[in-house]
Symmetry: C2
């Protein structure tokens, strides 16, 4: 595909952008949030559920699919779209992030990375060329280069080494990539160092990828640092290419990311917290387990028009969560994805009307974000405690 | 409601019956199988899912709803139909069976039964009048009397005492029942004794209930004994009233029950085994975890037209089960309920055409039931091992 992205409009008072991403499975209006379907399913949902809340782009994880069911099986089944019965857009992560956060006993050499599967402990070895080949076999619409994502406590030298390896691997991925219907995006690394981020963005921009992701962020660092780094890095990336901020999905962060000029987001947050009983609302996250909901006749979010809010009282959802009924997790997930889908639609409309900044200020004036200290603690607990289980 | 049941046709070569059950939430074609929604949800499914497989009658459990969320909450929410967003027919079990199988420290006296909640250990006391009042508050279409269900190893004296108490309680339930839009069914007890079953059926028939259930069966006894008892007991119940065999739901058992003259069945089996990866098919139950399914491109059951079989390969279902993805449980449940719904439709059509016996013989000639010894072992393990968790 020659043209992967059209930039339609830029806000006159911020860097917010309104665009369109073109893929082999259709057009995506940006800025967009992609729900995560790590194992070829957005947890609890069917493709129809996703379409019912106007989602037409999801993310899946090459690392997880490589381990189960294995890339050859999905290839034999006709590719990932057919395997999971999803005819919308799929972006696949390369597996880099998962290898560096989930797998054990990583060992890097010039060629690639060896690691132990977090599922069965088997030893695996993956090269940048493998990561491209796997994603071509999956047939995703957007593929990512294999990158090295340093830990948040990595030393400056480690961050530098990871960035340089990411650059070499990006070049090799680009050379190995042959599937014309698939866009291959680069991943900018460089930790929290403005200098390294600039170097990384400039180097990768020189290779002329059809899109650029910002990796290695939202790993527990304070949010102002995250967005300072995003804003700084995007200055060195081409305006006419889509920018993808990996692992960001809280409503307040989506607004901030958009105002920095980000076009694509993904995160397990809305689906993961849904399964814990946290429902997004205009006022902040609501915990359905709170006793106050036990007798609430109306929906949990009166402003919402999703299947869950149209059909079920907060009292019923409270009951389902209390009884750990499986239906609870699906109903909560539908709501949270609908909430973010609507939010992104409103963001896009506000950019078109050049009133994004007012929309953002208005939203944030009512929305109570999850406490920063609690958020960092939860995130770090999750990052360090999840060994052995998938992240979504 | 004056007339709850019309008997349209009886097979010329067996006792199979084709009828219609009339309720405040619509007409039910019989013979019918009711999926179980113990806690105000048929596990994993929405009302739309149930309707998509032509289910218009479900069972819910007063015992479970009494403990969580509590009857007053459901009453305040406008009744069980509104609470769970189901406008089809609901039959509620009285709680008798659950008190005698799930709860701890049961103590019977003339008035009722005290027991400890299997959820939080709290002491509760329920009378037959309470059981009726609860079900009237729930607003179910068909309610059951409170009965005493003896253990399968109970002595003859214990079975006799339980039967006599069940009779006294049935009379008290009938006297307490005032909700005209709700049918109150009696429950025949008497263990495996032909003499006690006759006495129980005759006594309850004399009280002129609008319908009769057969309780205390399918508790691990050999199947030929079950159906011998069913056939024997039904001889002493009025022809023009619906007969409900509680806790039976395997395909081969539904056919046998229908041939004895049963009109209504319920069982957690199809939904419970679905969540373990067992899919019904015309050849018997298929275990989706078998390696052979890992690469099967077609649906697990090529004869099936349900949402799951229309949209997903066996390979994908195998993958979802292997990864313990929540979507797996819903897709399997949809299939198993669709399978039984179709089976009951075929049974009804065959009775209309007076070829039920041929249909039954043909079905059984291909269907491989689960091995009897394994079945009894599984059932007893389940009956004795489930303390502390709901049965579906």
């Amino acid at each position: 595909m020659d043209k992967s992205f059209i930039l339609n409009k830029t806000s006159s008072r911020s860097l917010a952008r309104r665009g369109q991403l073109f893929t082999a499975h259709g057009k995506v209006e940006t800025p967009v949030f992609c729900p995560v379907g790590s194992q070829a399913t957005v947890k609890t949902l069917t493709p129809e559920d996703l379409k019912s809340v106007n989602i037409n782009m999801i993310l899946s994880n090459t690392y997880h699919l490589y381990l189960r069911p294995g890339i050859p099986i999905i290839k034999e089944m006709g590719g990932l779209h057919k395997f999971m019965n999803w005819d919308g857009v799929i972006l696949t992560d390369s597996g880099g992030y998962q290898i560096f956060s989930l797998a054990n006993l990583r060992k890097l050499d010039e060629g690639g990375v060896s690691f132990r599967s977090h599922i069965d402990g088997s030893t695996r070895y993956i090269t940048p060329e493998d990561a491209v080949s796997f994603q071509q076999d999956l047939g995703s619409d957007i593929a990512m280069v294999l990158d090295e994502c340093p830990h948040s406590e990595a030393s400056e030298n480690e961050v530098l080494a990871a960035m340089e390896r990411t650059h070499q691997w990006a070049k090799r991925c680009l050379a190995a990539h042959t599937l014309k219907s698939q866009h291959l995006f680069a991943i900018v690394q460089g930790g929290l160092s403005p200098e390294l981020r600039r170097q990384s963005a400039e180097y990768l921009a020189s290779l002329d990828f059809p899109g650029y992701a910002l990796g290695g962020l939202s790993l527990g660092e304070p949010k102002d640092i995250t967005f300072e780094t995003v804003r700084h890095t995007l200055r060195f990336l081409p305006e006419n290419k889509p920018r993808y901020l990996m692992g960001v999905g809280a409503p307040e962060d989506l607004l901030e990311g958009v105002s920095c000029g980000v076009d694509i987001f993904d995160c397990v947050l809305p689906t993961r917290v849904a399964r814990n009983g946290a429902f997004f609302s205009r006022l902040g996250r609501l915990n359905i387990r709170n006793a106050a909901f036990a007798t609430q006749k109306g929906p949990i979010d009166p402003d919402c028009n999703c299947y869950t809010c149209r059909n079920y009282s907060a009292a019923y959802l409270h009951h389902l969560f209390r009884c750990e009924e499986i239906l609870a997790y699906r109903l909560a997930t539908i709501h949270n994805i609908a909430f973010l889908s609507n939010l992104m639609q409103e963001i896009r409309t506000s950019i078109e009307k050049d009133c994004f900044e007012e929309f953002k200020a208005d939203f944030l004036s009512r929305y109570q974000p999850t406490n920063e200290a609690i958020r960092i603690e939860q995130k770090q607990k999750w990052l360090f405690g999840r060994n052995g289980e998938p992240p979504s």
